[in-house]
Amino acid sequence: MKKVILGAVAASLLVLSFGISRDSHAKPAASEPANSSDKYQIKIDNFSFAPATLTVPAGATVTWVNQDDIPHTVISTDGKEIKSPVLDTDEHFAHAFARPGIYAYYCSVHPKMTGKIVVQERTPSRPR
């Protein structure tokens, strides 16, 4: 049940914030169809980030969704790029990565939980 209701909010926020390096955080809303944001979605479940490493193109927005009964956070290990509020059950957080790089992050509440976003240069022209 809780897995279905998240995409919609993420979608609307993604539209607004696409291309802008901005974070969004929202409570779950009523059910609407799933959307393209699932492309770069990280599930927080059983005290872990899945996938633990995600590779995205520069400019992509990544959304974290907390499916645990326990609150978690998403915070850059170096304290810079990513800083989510506390995400309770079913809440999500989105962050747009403007620049290429490797962004290590963790849950500041449960620091054993770690993950990594690899942001790659956008290829100027698509191969064929």
């Binding site: 005290f47 326990i70 609150p71 956070t73 506390v86 054993k112």
Partner: protein
């Protein structure tokens, strides 16, 4: 519930299901410091449903106090939809005990989401305790978002640093430590250099015969690092305490009782008043453990501690809520 038979005997929470031998063996431990059972280097304690057994120890005691932990006020998921009722049941149980504790210790995760209303509710329930004094340490759930400022404003006005302090009661030196802030990626609980320096200084002038009680949220011994159940720099803290003849370490965080003895140091974790968590490694994660409603209160509880002058070890006894 998947519990092994050996532990079923020692941890039987049902009033009518207590194995006599296991029960007596554990009572002997509670009074004298003898051990219950060793499993993987960890001494497991048991839950006691009979308040009259509590009284037997406490009435001789010079100092009796009760530890409560992990009330997680605000949690409302299926594992326990009414954490107010179970906290109240814990207070009622403490109030019904024949010996009134001198004070309560709350070893953190007072709230679930650090919301003011959650702390307010806990304060309100605790006002119904006969024991009027409550000493707190924060859990990681109490310091969300604001690095613990709200916690300090409420509970730590006279504390040092992020909330650590010490006090003396009837010759026992109590030390409250904070290990839930400034956690490093990939790491465990953390005390930090400032607090460790303070601890070293705090115990410097004490005679080695002074009984020490240390309380903190996350265990100060490594219970299960895979789930973050330990404190990275606890060894340094324990190094400052090893010269003392009796050190009792009381923790919460893991929502189940566990015990370990290391020289003069006895480690003990308390049950939650809100929801149980699985035994290490028996589930995909340490998340709340859902049990049938009629079993919930047998897995929640409080911990009574007695200090009798002249006795080497403090008696630590767990009681479930049912």
């Amino acid at each position: 519930m998947p519990r092994q038979k050996e532990e079923l005997i020692l941890e039987n929470h049902n009033r009518d299901g207590v194995d006599r031998r296991g029960f007596l063996k554990c009572m002997a431990w509670a009074g004298t410091g003898a051990l219950c059972v060793v499993k993987g280097g960890i001494l497991r304690s048991y839950s006691l449903s009979d308040p009259s057994a509590l009284a037997a120890g406490a009435s001789n005691g010079e100092l009796a106090f009760v530890q409560i932990s992990d009330s997680h006020m605000g949690f409302n998921k299926p594992a326990n939809p009414d954490v107010v009722a179970t906290l109240q049941a814990a207070v009622d149980k403490i109030n019904a005990a024949p010996v009134e504790p001198a004070f309560l210790l709350h070893t953190g995760d007072i709230s679930h989401l650090s919301k003011p209303a959650e702390f307010d509710t806990v304060d309100q329930v605790l006002r119904s305790a006969k024991a009027k004094q409550v000493f707190f340490v924060p859990g990681e759930h109490d310091v969300l978002e604001d690095n613990g400022q709200q916690y300090l404003d409420r509970y730590g006005k006279s504390a040092k640093g992020s909330g650590w302090y010490s006090f003396d009661q009837k010759g026992v030196h109590f030390i409250a430590l904070v290990n839930v802030l400034n956690l490093k990626a990939g790491g465990l609980g953390s005390l930090g250099p400032e607090q460790l320096d303070w601890l070293q200084d705090d115990v410097k002038g004490l005679a080695a015969s002074t009984p020490i009680v240390v309380f903190a949220h996350i265990p100060l011994w490594t219970v299960y690092p895979e789930w973050g159940w330990g404190t990275d720099d606890s060894a340094q803290a324990l190094a400052y305490l090893r010269r003392f003849g009796s050190v009792t370490v009381l923790n919460g965080h893991i929502h189940q009782t566990m015990r370990k003895v290391e020289g003069n140091i006895t480690f003990h974790t308390a049950m939650s008043t809100a929801f149980p968590q699985p035994q290490p490694g028996t589930a995909p994660s340490p998340g709340p453990m859902k049990v049938p409603a009629d079993q919930l209160r047998s897995l929640l509880g409080v911990t009574s501690v007695d200090y009798v002058p002249g006795r080497h070890t403090l008696a630590v006894v767990d009681s479930s809520l049912d």
